[in-house]
């Protein structure tokens, strides 16, 4: 091995620092670009639609007169559908995640299931709509009900919930499990008293973010035949419904310009609902984290 001579020592510090700075600014620019688009989008929508939002707008049925028209059925439909979707998808999603993480032995079957769940998360939402139309609306004869819509949406977000819940369960240290088992806990006691509480914040965050995606989805609901004009309140899970994105889409496509501002108002309401969902995720996470 040849010894290095002193004149070969050239750390080129100046150049390295420069590259470092350039890279840092590049990342700042990419972040700023994304934020800028978001800010422009939101200010534009708020500027056009904020004036439309008042109690009347939130509590009136749709109408052919822009001044009379409101979001009532769409808002109620969205709340109904999201509540039902949460009730259906949360137990199934978390249950599957617990099985895959805590019970299932390593096997080819488990790997096969994992790959498929990951694939399902990438399937276009219209495909779920078609499945929902065939399975729930026609075969199970649920009609174009809130229940059929919620089941379809549950299918759509289940892969996301399962993947997020598994991540949360995997983040629980093995030592906690071993500690519980060493104290004589059964597997079920170990999962219920140790693993689940520790994983709950992550599980809830994943579930609520998945539900937020369901709030904004239109395609699968249009496919199963959710309606656009409804002037009565849904009075149960078997009733007909419409949701915010469909109402917005309907207003955007009308020729009269006043409906375009109503649509902007509807978008603002949809954004607020989404924001509330995300806020709920943060609050829940903090609450359970403090306890854990």
């Amino acid at each position: 091995m040849r010894a290095l001579r002193a004149d070969q020592w050239n750390p080129r510090m100046g150049r390295r620092r420069r590259y470092g700075a350039i890279f840092r600014y590049a990342t700042i620019v990419s972040t700023a670009l994304g934020l800028l688009v978001l800010v422009v989008l939101i200010t534009d929508v708020v500027r056009r639609g904020a004036g439309e939002i008042d109690l009347h707008f939130l509590t009136s049925f749709p109408s052919r007169f822009p001044v009379k028209a409101g979001l009532r059925t769409a808002l109620l439909g969205t709340f109904w559908m999201i509540a039902m979707t949460a009730l259906i998808s949360f137990p199934i999603g978390v249950g599957s995640a617990i099985y895959l993480e805590e019970y299932a032995p390593e096997s080819r079957l488990k790997r096969f299931i994992q790959i498929n769940i990951a694939n399902l998360a990438g399937v276009p939402s219209v495909v779920y709509g078609l499945l929902g139309l065939g399975l729930f609306v026609r075969n199970l004869a649920l009609g174009r009900s809130i229940l059929a819509g919620s089941l379809t949406m549950s299918l759509l977000i289940l892969p996301i919930i399962i993947v997020a819940s598994r991540e949360a369960l995997r983040a629980v240290p093995v030592s906690l499990r071993e500690g519980a088992l060493a104290l004589g806990a059964s597997r079920w006691q170990m999962v219920r008293r140790t693993v689940l509480p520790a994983a709950l914040p992550g599980v809830l965050t994943g579930t609520i973010l998945a539900l937020a995606r369901a709030i904004g989805e239109t395609a699968p609901l249009i496919t199963i035949g959710a309606l656009t004009y409804i002037a009565f309140d849904p009075n149960g899970p078997m009733d007909l419904f419409t949701v915010l994105p469909i109402q917005i889409f309907n207003w955007v496509s009308l020729p009269q310009k006043e409906f375009a501002s109503l649509a902007a108002g509807g978008i603002v309401v949809l954004l607020v609902v989404l924001l509330l969902a995300n806020l709920a995720a943060v609050v829940l996470r903090n609450r359970f984290e403090r306890r854990g």
Partner: protein, 331 residues
């Protein structure tokens, strides 16, 4: 720590019971009139439904917009009572209905004029003949007719840019039938959109553009567009409620329909709804930007309904251009 899990489970169970509890006493005991179909006709039926539900408390008339084709599919499989259509029922749809034992009454409810428009900066064209429109839109024009100069000698040699509704729409079907002479036949190199407001934006921002869509979209954007007259041989006619209603604006006036399932006509609430529809459509269609039929046509439509005349006056052959609706209904 286990308390948090228990709480989540408990709340889940409570809400599940609430939901199941409310599920049992709902929906089935209220009569609902199911309507779906064309998104062009949708606003008219929604206006009628709005007034109907205002006059008859407790009536439930939801309206969907899955398009004329999607609407007929649901109608002919017995899922809906009434379907909206911006074109007459097709032969295969009649066969599907027959397979499922669904008879239907076809009722015209309004006219829609198709407006041919350009950018307001276009100062050389005010009117086009049907032949010129055909020269622009026929399949042979694809990548061949690309300059305004090729449309009519004397027009400047400017690029010709085309905008039109998507090929799945009833509007596109009708335009190609009326102008090219064959349903669904047109050049492919135009900018299509299912959303007519997108077409409005496109033409308003493009000096050399020409396009077509429902008259209501021109009326709502008249300052950003220029409306062209159409000459079908008897001089230039510009579409307006008057020229569309009287049938002078040819061949781009089309009738819009509702189809009522024969089985559903036995229901009293649906009879009331259809009578209400045909009696009030004349006033309501102009609210949403369409053109009313003549009073005589509404009378003929009511007669057709009361006599439960089934089948299509078009016999599945598609729209007939230049045949008066009145003659068809009187046959």
């Amino acid at each position: 720590m286990p308390g948090s899990v228990r709480r989540v489970v408990r709340w889940g169970l409570v809400s599940l019971f609430v939901v199941v509890g409310t599920a049992c006493g709902s929906a089935a005991d209220v009569q609902t009139i199911f309507i779906d179909g064309s998104s062009t006709v949708g606003p008219i039926t929604q206006a009628v439904a709005e007034e109907f539900q205002g006059s008859f408390r407790g009536a439930r008339v939801p309206v969907g917009v899955s398009g004329s084709g999607g609407g007929f599919h649901k109608f002919c499989t017995g899922e809906t009572d009434i379907t909206n259509a911006s074109r007459p029922i097709r032969k295969i749809e009649i066969e599907l209905c027959a397979e499922n034992g669904i008879g239907f009454v076809e009722l015209p409810i309004a006219f829609d004029g198709l407006a041919v428009v350009t950018n307001p900066d276009n100062d050389f064209v005010a009117c086009l003949t049907v032949e010129e429109l055909q020269r622009i839109w026929e399949p042979a024009a694809e990548r061949a007719v690309t300059s305004w100069a090729q449309v009519r000698p004397g027009f400047p040699d400017e690029e010709l840019l085309l905008y039109g509704p998507g090929v799945d729409s009833g509007t596109y079907d009708y335009f190609t039938t009326a102008i090219v002479g064959e349903e669904g036949a047109s050049r492919g190199d135009f900018t299509p959109s299912e959303d007519d407001n997108v077409l409005v934006q496109g033409i308003a921002g493009d000096r050399n553009a020409i396009g077509f869509f429902g008259l209501a979209y021109f009326t709502a954007n008249s300052e950003a567009l220029k409306l062209l007259g159409v000459n079908s041989g008897d001089g230039c006619v510009t579409p307006s409620p008057e020229t569309v209603n009287s049938g002078v604006y040819q061949p781009l006036s089309r009738p819009l329909f509702i189809y009522v399932s024969l089985l559903s006509t036995e229901r009293e609430d649906i009879q009331t709804f259809i009578r209400f529809y045909l009696e009030n459509a004349g006033l309501l269609v102009s609210d949403v930007g369409y053109v009313a039929l003549t009073d005589e046509l509404y009378v003929l439509a009511i007669e057709r309904f009361e006599n439960r005349v089934t089948g299509s006056v078009y016999a599945g052959e598609g729209a007939m251009i230049g045949v008066a609706l009145e003659d068809l209904l009187r046959e």
